[in-house]
Each structure stands twice: as C-alpha cells, then as structure tokens.
Amino acid sequence: MERAVEDLATRATDGVEPGKVALAVLAPGSEGLREPLETALAAALARREQTVLPLRGSQLADAEGTARALGADLLLRVRASLGGSTLVLSGEVIPTRANFFLQRAPSARGAGARLVTATAPADEQLRALTAPARPDVGPIRLLPLVELPGRALAIAAGTTENGVRLATVTPAGVSLLDPRGVQLAFHPLPPPPPGPRVRDASAVISIGAFAGGRLAYAAAGWPEGEILSAASDELVHAAWIALAPASAATPIAAGGAGALFGGFVQGRGVLADLVSAFPDPGARPVSARELFAAAAAPRPGRVAYAVLGTDYSLRLLGPTLAPVPPDIPAVGAGFALADLDGDGEPELVASTATPGRSDRARVVRLGARADVAFESSDVEGAFVAGAAADLTGDGLDDAVLAAVLPGGGTRLWILTSDARAAW
C-alpha cells in the first residue's frame, strides 16, 4: 500500500506549491481500509510540505464546500478499491482556493481539476484491512438462489469483466449467471463423440484459468474442452483445449492462488490423482486414487486448494500444492473453499457423503482440529458441486452449492455470512 500512496501523493502534488490540502478518503465496501489509508496519505502529503486537513463523517457529503469553508487550496478526494489482487487508488485533485472570478458563484468549481491514479499489488495485510471487521460478520445462512433445468455437473464462480459471475455445466451446455442466478447466456455442448459414453456424466468448469474473465470447461468423454469468452455477458467460443486422458491438460479449478490443472480418467467421470499449477500434458497420475473434483479458494491462506477423492476424503493443498494435513473425511461432492468470516483463512463448505434424497451443508474451520461452525437443516436433493466468490459484494466470500433434485433439475443455494443478503 505504501508504494501506491507515495505514487498518488507525488502525482497529486506535482506542480502544486506548498499549501493547505483537504483530504477526503472513501473506501466503499472496504471500510477497514479508509483510516490507515488516510493516515498514510496525510503523512505522504506532509512530506511534500502540504498542510493536510482530513475530512471525515458528514464533511464527506459536501467535501468541496467543506474544503472551501476551511480555506483549503486543494481538495484531494481519493477512492480506494480492491480489484482482484490489485489495490486501485483513484484521486481527484480539485482546486478550492477562493477565486476572484467565481466570487459570485461560490459553489462553482474552478479550472484545473485533474485525475490521478495509482495501483499496487494487494498483499495479505491489505486484504485483511479491506475485509469488514469481524464483529460485522453476520450468522452463516444457507439460502435458495435459483432453480435451473437439467442436472448440474459442475459450477464455478469468479470475476469477469462485468463483475462476479456464476457458470454451470449441464449435459446440455454451459450457462452464465449473475450473482443472483439470473441466466445471462447459454452455450450448448458440442455433440457427444461416437463410442461408449461415460456412465457418470461429469464436467469441470473454472473462471479465470485462461486469462481474466474467461471460462474453461471440459466434460468427461469429450475429446476437447473449450475456452469461452464471457465479455459483454455473452458466451463466445475462444479456443479448444485438447484433452489427453489422465494428463494435466484440463483446468479443474481457479482461485486466488491461480488455476489448477488435472485430467479425467479414460472412460470415467472422475479425475486422475494429478494436479498441476500449469497445463502439463506430459504429467502422469501419482497414484491410482481417483478424484471427484477440486476446489480453489478465492482468497487463499494456508489452504489454497482442495481435492476430493472418491473415498470422500478431502485433501487440502497450500498455494504451492503441498498437502496441508490432516485430510478431512466424509466430504460430499458439493464442496468449496470460502473465507466466510474474513479471517484470511478459507473455510470448507461441504455437503454430506451419504446418499439420499436430502442433503446438508456444513462449514468446517480448517485447522489442526476441524471444527464444524455451521450445519444446515436438510435440503431437498443432493449437493453435487460447489464454488466460491464474493457474490453479495460485502467483501467476504460466499459459497454456492448445486443440489440436484430427485425429480430432475438443479437448485442453487448460496451460503453466506452477509447479514444483508436476502434471496
């Protein structure tokens, strides 16, 4: 953050003589960032021989008027936001010195206003600051989001150029949804290849594995996966992915620590015991173990990824793909890693591993001892896929789970600690 603050202060005071600067700092959605940013900016401006007048509370509603009333020469209004892994500081430098020619229109803005920006990578410390303070975290709730036709095979959540989006794969095709589950676009799967089908229809999908905002999916039994552009909320073919069986050519999850690649076992709807941080067609499985799916944390901590074996045992992996013991037993196929409470460590959101007509979602705090922080009541259907992203815009991760209903169709559920969320 220091680098971005210094950059912004330098650009804002470039060509400005020493004087009085009114400073208004806004950090919508990241309130924890406002105060430290104001302190750092005030210090940086002071080092450039400016006298800083911080504006707070109700003063921010009419910052320009307040700056003039305080006799400031300039108003520096800064808006901070965290876009993915980058801190963006946008500043408006507005002259507020009394102007002879505008003396009859005191609220009119003088000439010379300009825009300055600065960016810097967001580190862990900054992420912690941007998250809401712990006391503001509401109780965890599981809420129905939307019902979709067809059986969901996989689900992904992530940021495209239009904001946070969901994507699902069904045997019919790929759907792009907004955070409330409204379908924005649909892209049909190509016809199935000739020959034996895969008995357990299965797919993987991720957002952001190949360049920001792009979707990548692959269905078991198809010779190729596909990369789709989601620009303008339309799904447009971008490229094919050649899928060699049991090699790490398929993006199977994507999150804050990057994408994860793996591959289906020939003729089956399960993945080989093989994960890689990059596409590696030459990679081979490390064991005969088979995997149902993988998950990536949007905000990784000690744990960045998880892979679920067909023995319903979940292996946690760090950002370098090193195992983070212990494995978590009895995890169902609907699971995700999501930092629900903003403590910098993802929690595990998991369905049950027991077959039946109903299912439950649990939130497990990952540590030396896995504590169940939440367990839902029974919901209809079976959770078969999960994903995580900040769907409610509160700065905390939410999880979305796809429950296949006994009569067909899929109901999406959102698991959130955002007390404002109401679906």
């Binding site: 034996p196 089956r268 067909t310 169902g332 591993a353 259907g381 079976a382």
Partner: protein, 494 residues
C-alpha cells in the same frame, strides 16, 4: 396389510398401505431414491446371490430369473427400457422408424459399437442375432415370429430371415408378416439381444460385463470398457445361486452385496420386481374327456387360499396375466360343472422352486377337499420340459418368467411355454391383431385352448446390504448391475 420400505439414509421405516406398496413395486420406482445422493464411485466387486446358479446366459435360451439376470449383465439390446418404463435407443442410434404402417421397421445402429471381443457390432450381426432368435434351438423363437420368414427359420428350412435386409454396415430393414406397432418392445426384450458366436460357439455380447470365468463360486464377470452405456462402476461381478438361509447369512456377514430371492431378508433396503413369474396349472390332453372337467375343478379353487404359504411377493391370478399387465377381465361363460373330473391326479412340477412347492402342497390339500387325490411329482428342469412337450403328465404346475411387460408379448410367451413355439407364434399374431380392450378375451380363449388355469404370479425381492447404491430393476425384473456402486466400507463394519 402393510409393507415396509426402508428409508436407507435416515434408517426410518415407512409404513404404507399394501396397495400403495404394490404400485411402487409395479412401477419398479425405487431407482430415483437409490440413485439420488452423492456422486457414484468406481471400484469393488459385486457379489450377487440369485435364486439359482446362472447356467444359461444365452439370450435365446435363458428362462429363469437367474439366467436372465446373467443375460442382462452380459448382453445389450437394440432398444432399452429405462427405469421409468420408457423405451429409448439401446444399441440403436435412434428409435426404430416404422414404414408401411408398421409392417416394416428401419433400424440404424449407433456408431462405433463394439462386442466384448473388440469386434465392431454391425447390421449383419443384428440380422444374424434375429435369425438365431428365430431358430429351432431358441426357446424364445415366438418373439421373432412376426418377422417374414420366421417360420422357415424356426422349422430349420432356412438359416436367415427373409424379412431382414441389411442396407449398410449400420442400417437394416425388418419386414413383418403383419403390422406390429409395438415391434420396438420385441427389440427391447432380453432374448433379442445382439450376440456374435465366437470360437467353439461361445457367445460374445455387447453388454456391460463380459465373461471372466466360472468357478464353484459362480459366474465371474469383468466390466466391459466399451459398453455403449459406459463402463460399469464395479471392477467385477460374481453371480451365484443361494438358498434362503445361505443368502440371509451371506448378506448379514457382508459376503454378498445383494440378494435376489423371493423371501424377505432382514436388514438393508428392499425393493421387489413386478409379478413376472406367472404360475399356471396345466391339464394334459391325455386325460381325454376328464381334461376339461379337471381344468374346471382347478379353476374353481380359491387362488388366495392356494398362495397362503408362498413367501414370495404374490398376486393371485384370475386371468392369464396379472391385473397390472392386463387391466380388465373377459366375461366368463365357462361351466362350473366338474362332473367327470379325474379322481386321481399326478401333478408334475420342476425342482428347485420353493414358492411353487408351497403352492402345490396347498393345491394338493384343496383338491383333496373336492374329492381329487393328488400325487406331487418333481422333475429336473430338463426332464420337466421334456415331459411337458411330450404330454407325459396328468397335470403340471408351469412357471413362466415373463421377459416383457407388453401384454401381447407376455400372452404369446405363455402360449409358447405351454403349447410350444408354433402356438406362441400363432398367439402373438392374435394378440398383436387384437386391440387393448379385446386382449382379455384373447387371454381367456388361450386358457381354454391350452387347458391352463392361471394360479398366481410371483416376483422377487431385491435386498442390498448397506452401502450398496444405485441398484434398480428393469421392468422385466432383472437388476441393472452396471449402475451399482459401493460406498467405502467403514472400519469394523462388514
């Protein structure tokens, strides 16, 4: 009367009226419950216990539930019936297309089909399989009877069906002797499965499991990766026969994954087949004038009373087929006069059928009350079939395990089982020509012609140990074992 279905997830018993339970069993509707839940996994061996050891996995010759279960595991049909009873393409790319008002059908195979020996499945294989089904060695030749030239093949005068024309590698046209709108049902019946004769006459199928060996434990099968419906979940399948006590013990100790037997088993979830096992009392023509009065004496017996001690799921029969197959009944004008009936009657029945023996014992008692002395005689299945075809019996209890729930096919199968293939072929022509409302009358006239009295129909119960998932039953009562998968075993549990 109530029956109990087990909610496997929560372990709660759900009491339901018998009628509702029957409906569930008729629809074979449990798969939805069994298949919901978390994702299936591959691996493990399935050990399945059947009423008898499967010995005849030839689709054209299999008749017992055990043999038909083996056929279902090893072979594939052109048309499938899904768990909801709907027809859908099996080996075919699309459903058969009728031509000439359903007197001809065009069939197109799906691309890239393979037999278990790696050879491609082609239209010529379909033609050969249909000819084989129609041939003299086939027990189910009645099923191919509508195809032009079937009689010549059945009688050994031809080796190929004149009505089957191979159009290309994947396409053929089947011409029938009469319009048959439900011909797709013929192609969905297990005896119509597509096979290829391998070296030494061994049959190779295209089903989900392939032959891996036979030991004293039973028939060993391995998954076939090239099955058009996808590789089965299990890594191996063992089909064995077991009596009631052995099956119960094996299920309890974890030595078997599932049992298909008539009796209820303790523990595990349960489902049952439709009443596919029709039991008829057949009176021999050798009784002469006493034949018809004897048949009337048998027909006058209370069917509910006869089945009191049958432990299988049982439906007393007033008609040749259970009410779930053939709703409605024909008006009966048959005399109830039993004067002139035989006073001594030998009743022949096949060995190894517990439910049949229980019914026969009851029949013996009830006929004695009517002044008929009955001597029960059991014969091996081969001897039973031989004596039945030669008419060497007074009366016989004939079990027929139906291979289709289509009433026209079921009636023809009964006619063939009792009266021979010619009779079956003629019966099929009659039942196909009759509209649905007239079928009960056709069934009633078949009873008289065959000197047969329908007694009851039984089904099988399927019981799986906990942790066995995905099991469902085809409408012909055979289990779909390719979809079965196993939860990981918990420590300390069998």
């Amino acid at each position: 009367m109530t029956c109990c279905l087990r909610d496997r997830r929560r372990g709660r018993g759900i009491a339901a009226p018998w009628a509702a339970c029957l409906l569930v069993s008729l629809a074979v509707a449990l798969p939805a419950a069994a298949r919901a839940g978390t994702r299936p996994r591959y691996g493990g061996e399935l050990r399945i216990l059947l009423p008898t050891q499967p010995v005849q996995p030839d689709p054209a010759r299999a008749t017992s539930p055990a043999d038909l279960a083996a056929v279902r595991a090893m072979h594939a049909t052109l048309v499938d019936v899904d768990e909801h009873g709907r027809l859908r393409p099996g080996l075919l790319e699309t459903m058969p297309e009728p031509e000439e008002g359903a007197r001809a059908w065009r069939l197109r195979l799906a691309p890239a089909l393979r037999f278990q020996n790696g050879q491609p499945v082609g239209a010529a294989d379909v033609a050969a399989s249909l000819a084989r089904l129609a041939g003299p060695a086939s027990i189910h030749s009645w099923l191919a009877a509508p195809i032009e030239g079937a009689a010549a093949v059945r009688e050994g005068r031809a080796t190929l069906l004149a009505g089957v024309q191979v159009l290309s590698d994947r396409e053929l046209r089947v011409s029938l002797s009469y319009p048959f709108p439900e011909f797709a049902r013929v192609l969905a019946a297990l005896p119509s499965a597509v096979v290829r004769a391998g070296p030494g006459g061994a049959l190779v199928g295209a089903g989900p499991f392939q032959f891996a060996g036979r030991t004293e434990r039973g028939l060993h099968l391995a998954p076939f990766d090239g099955f058009h419906g996808g590789r089965p979940y299990s890594d191996g399948l063992l089909l064995s026969g077991a009596d009631a006590r052995g099956a119960a013990r094996a299920l309890q100790s974890g030595a078997a994954e599932a049992v298909f037997r008539p009796e209820p088993m303790d523990g595990g979830g349960g489902m049952q087949t439709a009443p596919m096992g029709v039991v008829l009392a057949l009176v021999s023509h050798r009784l002469g004038p006493a034949g018809e009065p004897t048949r009337r004496a048998l027909a006058a017996l209370d069917r509910h009373d006869l089945t009191r001690f049958v432990r299988a799921p049982v439906t007393p029969l007033a008609e040749l087929l259970p009410p779930s197959f053939l709703p409605g009944s024909a008006p009966r004008t048959t005399s109830r006069d039993t004067r002139g009936r035989a006073s001594k009657l030998g009743v022949l029945l096949p060995e190894g059928a517990d439910a049949l023996r229980a019914a026969a014992a009851r029949l013996q008692v009830k006929l004695h009350d009517h002044g008929v002395r009955v001597a029960l005689e059991t014969a091996s299945p081969a001897a039973f079939a031989s004596r039945l075809s030669s008419g060497d019996f007074d009366a016989a209890l004939v079990p027929v395990w139906l291979v289709s729930r289509a009433p026209a096919l079921a009636l023809a199968q009964i006619a063939a089982a009792v009266g021979g293939p010619e009779h079956g072929a003629r019966a099929l022509a009659r039942t196909v020509a009759a509209d649905a409302a007239a079928l009960p009358s056709v069934a009633a006239s078949l009873e008289t012609e065959l000197l047969a009295v329908p007694l009851h129909a039984t089904g099988l119960r399927a019981t799986a140990r906990p942790g066995v998932e995905g099991l469902w039953l085809h409408e012909d009562g055979t289990p779909e074992l390719g979809d079965v998968w196993l939860m990981p075993r918990q420590e300390g549990k069998p």
